[in-house]
Symmetry: C2
Subunit: 516 residues, 2 copies
């Protein structure tokens, strides 16, 4: 039988997807891991329109970008239709990325927003490229950004002082927040540092190395672009191209390799070579990030890899990519201190990263890390991360300093005990049904005060459920901020963990939340 | 100080929204109520692309629709740019509604999908109209659809028989599923039948009344269009226009008012007047819907209102609108039996409805029914509805029939006890922290078998956690399908509810899920 006329067969547009129920549950699984991770790390969710004025993208990247986008116009507006007919360009574009929207939102309220502002978003994005494995025309993306706060300006003298680690740690806190959240999401998917590594870099450090190897300061962009492709070139071609740009590739590689080795070993650059001022100053910043990651137990996920420069011209300073199995980039980001200003806001430091659903889905699928059937249905039915901070950690003794607080916050967010249990029992990450072990939404203050009353007021302003007051390495005090009463001990089980540990604090809070 | 050049001030495109953290949490609250309601009523989530081929909409509504849409094209494709320049029309459109996408998805897999297939989706939609209160150019919409299954064809003789209520109930089950889920979502938002009413209608019944009042069969579309605007016209103008169309408006109004009164009172049309065959046959269908809603305790939310015809030409049969405070339509839908076939699938009955975020947000805001601050944060942090059915209700005795099973399923989905508690305690809907009272994901079979083994196999295929075997009005058997063991009683509290009641079954299941 022939089909009746008008019964054309329709399909989804090339490079877009139809999601049937099992596909949709997989999408929910991904977005819930993203959202839970973001919330536990103290990020607030925002969103913007699906389409924006096209010039929002061209002001950042030039008019050429419009040829890479899906453009849109109102079929009802004679003006817009006329303009498209005349110029072949439409007034709107389907968003290809979130950063310009984010910068616009921040710029509009810069004065009222907290310092720093930590925002995330999850939504659809669009690119007019040829669809292929790992690249679609419509895809989902998770964006994580820390905007405002201190700028890690290492040109000032004091933070470079080797003796002042805590201050340096505070200056790179935004970078660390992003790196830690990125790692936590990978871990929540069941990935380990054996299969995924964060390749960290710093464009200023890479540039300083290039200059030390002979590159002139005016050619830094070309030099960085060359680092991006050097691995794909035959060695002699690369050496020749470097010479044409004015630097000695072998000299650069020796110095960069030395930096990279030092980062992993934790040794001081200063102890080896103090003759290259620019290199040392810039190395100190990435080294500070490494120190904090070491304190929170995340250094085994990271390596310094100066060839990572990220294509986008607007990155300034730290950049990083999460690379699976040595080849697939599943996430990437970096510092973009100039963008908010470009879009009408004040001069503002900012750092962020993004992860798309297409690559990460393929990776998890390959590794057997996507739940199926009833397991998938259960995984998406569990309680999400608490939007109210469950633990707001403050220090009662300023001598104790931020690192101790930061480490406890990081361990609560990670659910260290939960990860250990999953590993011990050889269970999949979505199978941790032991509620008391779960990761938590933990925060610390970004205010510079050490006044305990003011710190607790900050906790209440952020609607935290419990304050964790750290007195010393073995003594914490737990305050129920809703009921205005003190908690003493976990109430369940035979429990003898160190009272200042994540296990102790976590269980005490969960017991209190369950009303036992 | 003047701003540097290039610092243009950007805003969201007209009619679109920037969502800051509190706005985003409100959106999450709305979407979670929608998703939870859909899942508890046995609907599976799906989604499609954000943009579709423009002809997907024009095949349904004609080329004129493209002037109401946002059109899109790839800036990278010379062919597409050329086509836009020549014609002023783009190959793609940002989706203005979900139904064509849904019908396309169904048509592509019609043979493998269950009968009926119950799908929902939540996502952004776009219309190129002038923004105004309650109408934006980008908005969020919840779509609920039941596709396939029996067609409520009342031209066949048997289902009209007054003695065969159960069979008639089964024929309108899809319509009832939609109406009940719509009401449940309104109730979950804290709205009551005092402020929102579902205006139900049936285009065939309205048409039959018009024909009985003198309209010729060839003018039915014009007649229905006239009913849509009759309330806005001065009476004498309306009477004149009706006469021009060939029918007596006063005669129509008397008959329609009689039908509407009979629907609410539950009396039989047949007992009053059997002379108008077409009217009676069509009245029986809407009356069957009313009977089931009466049995599940939802009739107080509904009235028959034949002036509701819904503008879209593709509706066939049942149509309905949820109307708040007598004027604001917060949801609407109906039967569209021809659409799947139009888009390349087999002839397929279908019924659905949609609710947008803009109108419902304004309504909840006005009534103080949107949580704020810490309450909002807690509301979105609660466990979502279980994707696995928690209770799969089957009848052990075929004489007991569907109505008894259907009523228990409906009460479990509604969380009747939870609603009663909220009302008694005068609490907001998001404040029901009493887990044992919460609404459940309940299902029943759509298969025609009464074989208990086959029914239980259907429950397992749908990954149900518990089967509820109803033996008689006071005896149920509860089976844990994961552990393959029988449950006996709720384990907590002094509990003496009727063992076949929603309260008893619900508590027994929650106790088992909690492992007590």
């Amino acid at each position: 039988m022939s089909k009746p006329a008008g019964n054309a067969s329709f399909q989804a547009p090339k490079g877009t997807r139809d999601l049937y129920p099992e596909d949709l549950l997989r999408r929910r699984y991904l977005t819930q891991v993203w959202r839970d991770t973001a919330i536990r790390h103290g990020f607030d969710e925002i969103d913007g329109p699906t389409f924006e004025e096209a010039r929002l993208y061209s002001v950042k990247s030039g008019d050429g970008i419009l040829g890479e986008l899906f453009q849109a116009f109102s079929g009802k507006s004679p003006d817009e239709v006329e303009r498209v007919r005349e110029t072949g360009m439409a007034p709107f574009a389907l968003r290809p990325e979130f950063t310009p929207t984010l910068a616009r939102l921040y710029a509009a309220r810069a004065r009222q927003l907290p310092q720093p502002t930590k925002w995330f978003s999850i939504g659809p994005y669009f690119r007019a490229e040829r669809p292929q494995r790992g690249r679609l025309r419509e895809f989902l993306q998770w964006n994580m950004d820390v905007i405002g706060g201190p700028e890690p300006d290492l040109d000032s003298e004091e933070p470079q002082s080797e003796s002042n680690r805590a201050k340096r740690a505070r200056l790179v806190q935004s970078d660390v927040d992003c790196v830690e959240a990125c790692i936590a999401s990978l871990e929540a998917f069941g990935l380990s540092s054996r299969s995924v590594q964060l390749a960290l870099s710093d464009r200023h450090l890479a540039a300083a190395h290039l200059v030390a190897a002979g590159l002139s300061a005016g050619s830094i962009d070309e030099g960085l672009a060359m680092l991006d492709r050097v691995a794909k070139l035959p060695r002699e071609v690369a050496v020749e191209q470097a010479r044409a740009l004015g630097f000695d590739l072998n000299k650069y590689v020796r110095a960069a390799t030395l930096s990279q080795g030092l980062f992993s070993s934790g040794k001081d650059w200063a102890a080896i070579d103090t003759s290259q001022g620019k290199v040392v100053a810039n190395y100190l910043r990435i080294k500070s990030i490494g120190e904090v990651l070491g304190a929170t137990g995340r250094l085994d996920w990271c390596q310094l890899q100066l060839s990572v420069v990220r294509g986008l011209a607007y990155y300034t300073g730290t950049v990083f990519e999460a690379i699976a199995d040595g080849e697939r980039a599943v996430a990437g980001g970096g510092r973009y201190d100039g963008l908010v200003e470009l879009l009408g806001g004040p001069r503002t430091p900012a750092v962020g990263f993004a992860m798309g659903d297409v690559v990460v889905s393929l990776l998890l699928e390959d590794k057997g890390l996507l739940p199926k059937g009833a397991e998938l249905m259960d995984a998406v039915s569990r309680a999400p991360a608490s939007v109210r901070p469950e633990a707001f950690v403050v220090s009662a003794d300023e001598r104790l300093g931020d690192p101790h607080v930061a480490a406890l916050v990081a361990r609560l967010r990670r659910g260290v005990e939960c990860q250990a249990w999953l590993e011990r029992e050889d269970r999949k990450p979505w199978a941790c049904d032991r509620y008391a072990l779960r990761p938590m939404h933990a925060r610390q203050t970004y205010k510079s005060t050490t006044n305990l009353k003011k710190l607790l007021a900050d906790a209440e302003k952020q609607h935290a459920r419990f304050a964790v007051v750290v007195h010393d390495e073995h003594k914490v005090q737990l305050k129920d901020l809703d009921r205005r009463e003190e908690l003493t001990h976990p109430t369940r089980g035979d429990f003898s963990a160190d009272p200042a540990s994540e296990a102790y604090v976590g269980r005490a809070i969960v017991d209190a939340l369950d009303g036992r």
